[in-house]
Each structure stands twice: as structure tokens, then as C-alpha cells.
């Protein structure tokens, strides 16, 4: 960063500080989830958003929160936090506790929060892309100007249901933005081994859906793109497809011990040079938005907060066993016992 004129800021300092705080909190929260998983406190499967934070912060701060619809796959903690779900309720859900978003019955992969229009959290890869279509259909049918954001991974972009959904979105001009979070790996299979054409933004073409490929490591850039595209989709009532280029710095799941089989340490190290939190950290220092001391204090503060959230969640009771019978149907209960 030496011998360079200071970059011009496109956003006010307060917003930059907000985004930094939000992404840092998300990162620390995810690290705690990893800890919980490794200590057997957070169920069988759990997937972290480390490195991909700008996709939640950049896009979800650009929608009308609580009005626009959001749906995503199983790497969903960050989306809930940015949309405004209570972090304690999110942690309770991840630890399978009573105060969780779904009373501990859904878990890490299936976060749901109607108040914040988060429709999941889904564990079957690609399947939710049709549900996103349904949300957009309903909004258009009712004559509302809600926009639906439907996130999916690069692996999910190969699922047949996604193309059924794209066709209908194009056919009916539905106001949905499909955001392909391309982190270059469908679990342990690299993009070029699973995608016939690695330019995933082209996948809207056959359906007349406009699309673009966007670098998504710099949250300020993501914000600019998101605001522009969301406004366009809301106004023109048409679908849009984004291939967001990102990278996950951690394993596919919290149990992934085999990263060396599908990528090198050097590759991860290179990607980490563009760690979105570090990028913003540099901007903050360069423009004297916060001092080094203040940044360190912030991290301390968030660590303490997340520790407290975790402690509270862990001290919360599990749901009562009899709760398994509720919410299977709207009106009847499954037979008790047997």
C-alpha cells in the first residue's frame, strides 16, 4: 500500500465501518461454530462461510430487508446474521436448542426466519432454486415489487431443477436474482471437472436471462453491483443471473480433513491474500476510519460477544422430546409412541 495515492472512497466511512464489523462478526461467529462442531456440540454436518462474507453483506444490505425474499442452500449462517436474525437464536439452532430459529429441529443447514424473510437454508443441493422461483412468482402474482434473491453454489448450478427454474423465470419474467456463489469447488470437485463451461454466468443465456460474472471479494464492489442489479430487477420485473466469483478459505464442511486431495495449500494462501476482511481492514487504516488499536479492540469485543452468545446457547435447554410431534401437520399430530 506504499507510494500510492489513497484510493477514493465510494461509500461513507460509517458504511465501511459497518460492513467491516458485520463481516468480522460473521467470521468470528463461524469460527465458534467450527469449535462447537469439533467438540460434538453442533450435530453431524455444518458448513462455514469463511471467505464468502461479502456475498451476504454486500447483497443483503442492498435489498429491502424484511420485505424482499431470500433463500439459500446449506452454507447459510451468514445470510441469517446479516438479515437480522438474533445471533443467539442462530447459535441456539446450530446447537439444537429450544431458543433456536426452528426450535432446534432444523439445525445448521436449515436456518429459517420468517420475520426476516429468510426461507432457508436447504440441504438438498439445487432443490431450493425452484422454491426461490415460487417466491418470485408469488410476489409478481400479488403485484408487489419484492425482489427474490436465490443463492446457490457452483455445484448446484449443474442440477436439473435449476434449469427448469431458469426457464420459467425467463418465460414469466419473474423478479428473481439467482446468485451462483462460485467458490470453485462442488465440495471436493473442482469447477473444471464438474462444469462443461466454467463460465457459469452463461447459464442464463438459453433462457433469455441477462447475466454477468462479478468478482466478489471486495464488499464495496459487491455493494455497487448489488444495488444496481436489485434496482433494475425491481423496476423491470425480470430475472437476472449473477456468477459471483468467491472462495471458501475453509473446508467444505466443518469435518473436511481432506482439502489436500482437491486443492493445494498454495492455492488457498493465494486466495487468502484477497481475504475480504483484510481488504477492508486496509482501506480502513488507509483512510483513518479506525486506528489499529480500535480495530484490535473491535475484534476483542466481538470475540467476547460471540463467547457470551455461545455460552448462553449452550446453557439453553434442548427442546422437549414431545416437541417432535408438533408441526408435522397443521392440524393433526402423528400417532404418539409405537
Amino acid at each position: 500500500m506504499t507510494n500510492k495515492a489513497p484510493t477514493k472512497l465510494d461509500f461513507p466511512a460509517s458504511l465501511i465501518k459497518h460492513d467491516y464489523e458485520e463481516m468480522l462478526f460473521m467470521r468470528i461467529f463461524e469460527e465458534k461454530c467450527q469449535f462447537a462442531f469439533r467438540n460434538g456440540k453442533a450435530g453431524g454436518y455444518l458448513h462455514l462461510y469463511v471467505g464468502m462474507e461479502p456475498l451476504a453483506t454486500g447483497w443483503l444490505n442492498s435489498i429491502r430487508k424484511g420485505y424482499d425474499y431470500v433463500i439459500t442452500a446449506y452454507r447459510d449462517h451468514g445470510h441469517a446474521l446479516v438479515l437480522g436474525s438474533d445471533p443467539l437464536a442462530v447459535m441456539c439452532e446450530i446447537l439444537g436448542r429450544k431458543g433456536g430459529l426452528s426450535n432446534g429441529k432444523g439445525g445448521s443447514m436449515h436456518l429459517y426466519d420468517a420475520e426476516h424473510q429468510l426461507y432457508g437454508g436447504w440441504g438438498i443441493v439445487g432443490a431450493h432454486t425452484a422454491l426461490g422461483l415460487g417466491l418470485a412468482f408469488a410476489a409478481k402474482y400479488r403485484g408487489e415489487d419484492r425482489v427474490t434473491l436465490c443463492y446457490l453454489g457452483d455445484g448446484a448450478a449443474n442440477a436439473g431443477i435449476f434449469y427448469e427454474s431458469l426457464n420459467m423465470a425467463g418465460l414469466w419474467d419473474l423478479p428473481i436474482i439467482y446468485i451462483i456463489e462460485n467458490n470453485y469447488f462442488a465440495m471436493g470437485t473442482r469447477l473444471e471437472y464438474h462444469a462443461a463451461d466454467t463460465n457459469l454466468s452463461k447459464r442464463g443465456y438459453p433462457f433469455g436471462i441477462e447475466s454477468e460474472q462479478l468478482d466478489s471479494m471486495d464488499v464495496m464492489e459487491v455493494r455497487k453491483d448489488a444495488a444496481r442489479i436489485i434496482e433494475m430487477v425491481r423496476k423491470e420485473q425480470k430475472p437476472y443471473l449473477v456468477e459471483a466469483l468467491t472462495y471458501r478459505f475453509v473446508g467444505h464442511g466443518a469435518a473436511d480433513n481432506s482439502q489436500e486431495l482437491y486443492r493445494t495449500k498454495e492455492e488457498v494462501a493465494k486466495a487468502r491474500k484477497r481475504d475480504p476482511i483484510h481488504l477492508l481492514h486496509d482501506v480502513i487504516l488507509e483512510h483513518n476510519i479506525l486506528t489499529q488499536g480500535e480495530l484490535e479492540a473491535l475484534e476483542e469485543k466481538f470475540r467476547a460477544e460471540v463467547d457470551e452468545i455461545y455460552a448462553k446457547a449452550e446453557a439453553s435447554p434442548h427442546p422437549d422430546p414431545e416437541d417432535v410431534y408438533t408441526n408435522v401437520y397443521t392440524d393433526i399430530s402423528p400417532e404418539v409412541g409405537h
Binding site: E93, M109, H110, I124, V125, M187, R190, H318, P319, P334
Partner: protein, 337 residues
């Protein structure tokens, strides 16, 4: 992660047994192909196919895109032209994404060609709960396929059977849906020595895991171990001597072994991990009442998962799945009837 070093040099766990079966069949049958998500470079989400792409090459072990329907379709198409195919579903829950290709295409091809074509395809995957996988990573959905004529369905509970049934399935010539119990994959307590020589376990033959004279547990998969534990409790605390039958193969079903046992015990509890309504336990109970009613001294009972999804929270998961306590209680009910 290395499969080969889990439990020393002699005993093999369930995962190693499956890996050996696939390796040996790949060597034995040059027409065998393996298809699945992450099965090559990564060696599978759980490691069942570890080392096989390295050993047999990318032209026989394919990393597939996340496209379950097309994976099954490719398997069937390749089978039409003389290949034998193992198609992995990364979790058996995801088999629903390939459902139509399986029940409408694969299951019926032999029938609708008047027997002209065979479909030697094994669709296999990690199945079952007790591991905190929540709604979409915990299911036993075998009943869907038992309900689809043309498919065989198996579910081994031991390393010996996992290897022997996998080999038999790959040589069977019919499409087979193969349920692997993921919670057993690396369970060292069930690791065992496997024969040096080639062997198979025939489809349609049950195994008696514990002999007893007072009542019969009929079960498969992970529940075999719950029934064995329940049998010990019944014996030690109540003096009730239970027999445990592991059916191993659902379609075809070895009814003879069940009826022979009932001839001795006259009481039966059928245990399966899937939900109760239309589960395979119900099918077994129906066959017993149809074919062996005279042998019964008590109503046949089922112990199954509750008719609810599998919840994430651990105590709730335990509550909805069959456990030792519920099996003991059912055993007491039929024994004291």
C-alpha cells in the same frame, strides 16, 4: 483418513470392506464403471471409493456433477451396452433427485423389453440416522424402492456382509439399491477379519445374529445392534431369550428363516429405522400374518422411527429413532402377552 490404517492390518471395518469389494470387482470385471459425486479425486464424501480412481483411472471412476437423475440415466445407458455400473448417491437422501430414473426407467427396462436387456446397476449410498444429520442427511428410504417391482434392495450390517453383498449385487444382473449404514462405516467395534479368498453373500438370505427360544427380533441395518443389545437386556434382567434375525436383503426377502424362527419362539417384533407408515417392517408383519399366523402366540409388533421428520437436536433425534429401550419394551409386550 487413510482407509487401510483404521484398525490394524487384520480386522477390516465396514468402509474398508466396501472399498475392498469395489476394488476386487473392478479388477475382476473390466466392464465395471464407478460413477458418483466426489468419488474420484476426493475418494467419496466418506471415503468408500478411496484410491480407486488412482488405481483404475478416470475412464473407469468418474467424478460426476451434482446431477443425480443423470447419474442414474448414464448408469442405465451404459448398462444397456454391456457395462456394469456402480452409481453412488452421496447421501441416500439425495436419491430422491434421481427417483424417476430409478423407479420408472431402471426398474422396468428388463420387463418392457421382454427380458432382452439386463440392467446390472448398483445404486448405493450412505444411509441412516443416529448421527445428527437432521432432515435430509439421516433417512432410510428403502421402502420407496421395495415398492417398485424390478429393483432388489439390500442393507448389510457387518463388514463381512457389506463386502459379500456388494460383490453379489455387482454380479447380480438386476438393478440393486444398496443401503450402507454410514454410522457403521468406521465403527471399530464391529471390524472383523475377512476371508482372503473371493466370496459373496447371496441376496435373499437372512442371518441369525443371536439364537434364542422365547421371541424373535427381525431387523436389518443399524437396528441389528440395537436388537442385540435389547436381547441382552431381556436375557439378563427378565430371563427372556430372544433370537435376532438380520434379513440383510429386503428384496428378495428370506421368509423361510423368519418362519423357522417363529416355529420355535412364536413371538415376533420387527424393527426398522424408517417411519412406521408403509415401512418395510409393516410388510414383514403382513407376510407373517398371511403365511404363518398359526405360529403366533402374540400379535406381531413393530418398532420404527416415529412418523415425523428426523430432527436436528440430538435428544429429539434419539427420541424419534428406534432405541434399545423401545425394543426391550416391545419384546416384553410380546413375551408377556
Amino acid at each position: 483418513m487413510a482407509v487401510a490404517q483404521q484398525v490394524g492390518t487384520v480386522k477390516k471395518n465396514y468402509l474398508q470392506a466396501l472399498n475392498e469389494a469395489l476394488r476386487e470387482e473392478m479388477a475382476r470385471n473390466e466392464d465395471l464403471l464407478l460413477l458418483g459425486e466426489d468419488i474420484g479425486i476426493l475418494g467419496g464424501a466418506f471415503g468408500v471409493t478411496e484410491g480407486l480412481q488412482e488405481e483404475f483411472g478416470g475412464h473407469r471412476v468418474y467424478d460426476m456433477p451434482i446431477s443425480e437423475a443423470a447419474i442414474v440415466g448414464v448408469a442405465v445407458g451404459a448398462a444397456l451396452n454391456g457395462k456394469t455400473v456402480m452409481a453412488e448417491m452421496q447421501f441416500i437422501d439425495f436419491i430422491s433427485c434421481g427417483f424417476d430414473q430409478i423407479v420408472n426407467m431402471m426398474a422396468t427396462y428388463h420387463y418392457r423389453t421382454a427380458g432382452e436387456v439386463n440392467i446390472p446397476v448398483v445404486v448405493r449410498g450412505p444411509a441412516g440416522g443416529y448421527g445428527g444429520g437432521a432432515l435430509y442427511h439421516s433417512q432410510m428410504n428403502e421402502a420407496w424402492f421395495c415398492h417398485s417391482p424390478g429393483l432388489k434392495v439390500v442393507c448389510p450390517s457387518t463388514p463381512y456382509d457389506a463386502k459379500g453383498l456388494m460383490k453379489a449385487a455387482l454380479r447380480d444382473g438386476n438393478p440393486v439399491i444398496f443401503y450402507e449404514i454410514k454410522e457403521l462405516y468406521r465403527l471399530n467395534s464391529i471390524a472383523e477379519e475377512l476371508p482372503e479368498e473371493d466370496y459373496t453373500v447371496p441376496l435373499g438370505k437372512a442371518a441369525i445374529r443371536r439364537s434364542g427360544k422365547d421371541l424373535t427380533f427381525v431387523t436389518y441395518g443399524n437396528n441389528v445392534y440395537h436388537c442385540l443389545e435389547a436381547a441382552e437386556v431381556l436375557f439378563k434382567e427378565h430371563g427372556i431369550d430372544a433370537e435376532v434375525i438380520d434379513i440383510r436383503s429386503l428384496v428378495p426377502l428370506d421368509e423361510e428363516t423368519i418362519y423357522t424362527s417363529l416355529g420355535k419362539t412364536n413371538r415376533v417384533v420387527v424393527v426398522n429405522e424408517a417411519p412406521m407408515t408403509c415401512g418395510f417392517a409393516g410388510e414383514i408383519v403382513a407376510r407373517i400374518t398371511n403365511n404363518a399366523f398359526d405360529l403366533l402366540d402374540a400379535p406381531p409388533l413393530r418398532v420404527t422411527r416415529l412418523d415425523t421428520p428426523v430432527p436436528w437436536a440430538k435428544p429429539l433425534e434419539s427420541f424419534v429413532l428406534p432405541g434399545v429401550d423401545k425394543i426391550v419394551a416391545a419384546g416384553l409386550r410380546v413375551a408377556r402377552f
